[in-house]
């Protein structure tokens, strides 16, 4: 009862443009309709404009034509394909990002249209973003696993989030100089990022019920979630998988910017091929600075270190004072080293013996976890032409479980 059923058959009688927004019809016919710039506009032209105008005057005709064009653009949710070649903003963005010339500006314009702005999958960036997201997470995870084979899983999740998380991708889009459109529409310059904004007053962090996680007992309170189970049931950042947002819903600027960067990665891969996509990834994402040793948050480092030494058949770790000053003063400093037999595993300085010992254990654990083999190769490097034979990468036993 929501929609007037009369329009379903009347649409064949009326001109194609007079069809109302029927999602099925829009999906079926929009591909052919979008390119018809000669089709009659939705409403007939106002009569007073045509009376007394000289149609041979090129200036008048130019205005009439641009008015037609504007009106025809207004009925689309996103800019038409032809508008991409006329956008100075888009061409400047293409050049600023050193995108390969094989990537046309039309595709770049499509990556800037979010699914919340144009629900038609033929014109929004959803499919490109899906491909780009898979590529980004694949390249990042293989880099992290090969470069730091001993990282604990929780730290890998954090590092993945730091490299290709939505926050980072949104910051990248901002640093690329991508402007956000106030509201999406067919008449908007295609150089703007177009998305429907979240209604004011909406709680963005509110827990949604449409969580599409495959995890059993996901809603059961106090059901223990192991870190290892996150590999199977959760996304690449260790978060529960959320379902796609409803078509009428808005998205935040951060989400839309992140989707744009993913879609751009996908379109570089599709148009310019794998080497160009790899180069794009290395130049824009891997080149950003991240100190992995800042991502660790130990609760009981001394205990973890004892367990690690037991597992690796090292001698028991012993903390020894290396040097100290001002034990009875207001600011004592102790330097404590942790030794396993004759080998010093770590060293730390602190204002109390306990603090110094904690720091020493921490540095010993980080020294273990942050081991990085020399001359690391990633599996995807085998896809290059003339790649040397693959040597197996270091695979570690895993983190210490206490």
């Amino acid at each position: 009862m929501k929609r007037l059923q009369l329009q379903r058959w009347s649409s064949t009688v009326l001109s194609p443009r007079a069809r109302t927004v029927n999602r099925l019809h829009q999906h079926l016919y929009s591909a052919s309709l979008r390119h018809q710039s000669t089709a009659a506009p939705l409403q007939s032209e106002p009569q007073d404009a045509s009376i007394g105008t000289n149609f041979e005057d090129p200036e008048v005709m130019r205005q009439v034509r641009s008015a037609h064009k504007r009106k025809s653009q207004l009925q689309y949710p996103s800019p038409p394909v032809e508008a991409a070649t006329n956008s100075a903003k888009l061409a400047a963005l293409h050049a600023r990002l050193y995108l390969p010339s094989r990537l046309p500006v039309q595709t770049l314009a499509r990556t800037l249209v979010d699914a919340s702005a144009d629900p038609n999958a033929d014109f929004n960036n959803e499919s490109l973003a899906t491909l780009g997201h898979d590529l980004l997470t694949y390249y990042t995870s293989e880099y992290l696993l090969c470069k730091y084979p001993r990282l604990p899983l929780t730290v890998i999740f954090a590092a993945m989030y730091a490299y290709v998380g939505p926050k980072t991708l949104a910051a990248m889009a901002k640093e690329w100089g991508v402007d956000l459109a106030a509201a999406p529409g067919g008449e908007v310059d295609p150089g703007y990022l177009q998305f429907r904004r979240v209604d004011p007053g909406t709680d963005v962090n509110a827990a949604t019920d449409d969580v599409k996680t495959p995890r059993p007992y996901a809603n059961a309170a106090k059901w223990r979630k192991t870190v290892t189970s996150k590999i199977f049931y959760d996304d690449e950042f260790g978060d529960p998988i959320k379902g796609a947002s409803a078509p009428g819903e808005g998205v935040t600027a951060e989400q839309a910017s992140a989707t744009f960067v993913r879609a751009l990665m996908g379109s570089v891969y599709l148009h310019a091929g794998r080497p160009a996509a790899k180069r794009f990834f290395e130049q824009h994402i891997l080149s950003r600075s991240l100190n992995i040793s800042d991502l660790f948050n130990f609760s009981q480092p001394a205990r973890d270190l004892a367990r690690l030494c037991a597992r690796e058949n090292f001698e028991k770790p012993v903390a020894k004072i290396t040097s100290e000053t001002g034990r009875l003063s207001r600011h004592p400093v102790f330097v404590v080293g942790i030794f396993s037999g004759q080998d010093q595993l770590g060293e730390g300085a602190g204002a109390s013996l306990l603090e110094a010992r904690e720091r020493a254990a921490l540095s010993a654990l980080k020294g273990w976890y942050l081991y990085s083999p020399l001359n690391v190769r990633v599996p995807s490097s085998m896809e290059e032409d003339g790649a040397s034979p693959w040597e197996p990468a270091h695979v570690d036993l895993g983190e210490v479980i206490t």
């Binding site: 400047a92 050193y98 998380g165 640093e175 950003r288 991240l290 130990f298 040097s323």
Partner: protein, 137 residues
């Protein structure tokens, strides 16, 4: 819980990988009749096409501003704007002003006192009084 991961964001190092030009738009404003815009009009017709060809990463806008002095405005990636008035200037001088805006980072001008500014840790590390040979008192 053995170890937790802390969520952060990677920091950009412009130029380490790709270099993103910081000036994203240049607006050229002129007056069709004003005498102070004479040089600007010559610049727009003669020099600007070449300038645009050499700098595809910058969006260029030319807009009349009747009854006012000619101005070049630069929009930057960090959201700031810089403007230079180019009244009574020759085209060659206007090009120099446009180059100033083009090459600017958009930040406020600040004095650099150290030869190197870096987010990387010092290779030598921080001096510690507790390590190395202790001097006898």
């Amino acid at each position: 819980m053995p170890v937790k991961g802390l969520r952060t964001v990677t920091t950009a190092q412009n130029g380490v990988g790709a270099f993103i030009h910081q000036c994203k738009r240049l607006d050229f404003h002129y007056c069709k009749y004003g005498g102070s815009s004479r040089g600007m009009l010559a610049f727009l017709t003669q020099t600007l096409p070449n300038f645009a060809r050499e700098n595809p990463q910058i969006e260029l806008r030319v807009a009349p501003r009747p009854g006012k002095h000619p101005v070049i405005k630069g929009q930057y990636v960090n959201g700031r704007e810089k403007a230079i008035c180019v009244r009574n200037l020759e085209p060659i001088d206007i090009l120099k002003k446009a180059m100033i805006l083009k090459d600017a980072s958009g930040d406020k001008l600040k004095r650099t006192k150290k030869p190197v500014t870096s987010i990387n840790e010092s290779v030598r590390g921080i001096w510690s009084p507790y390590h190395g040979d202790l001097r006898g008192v």
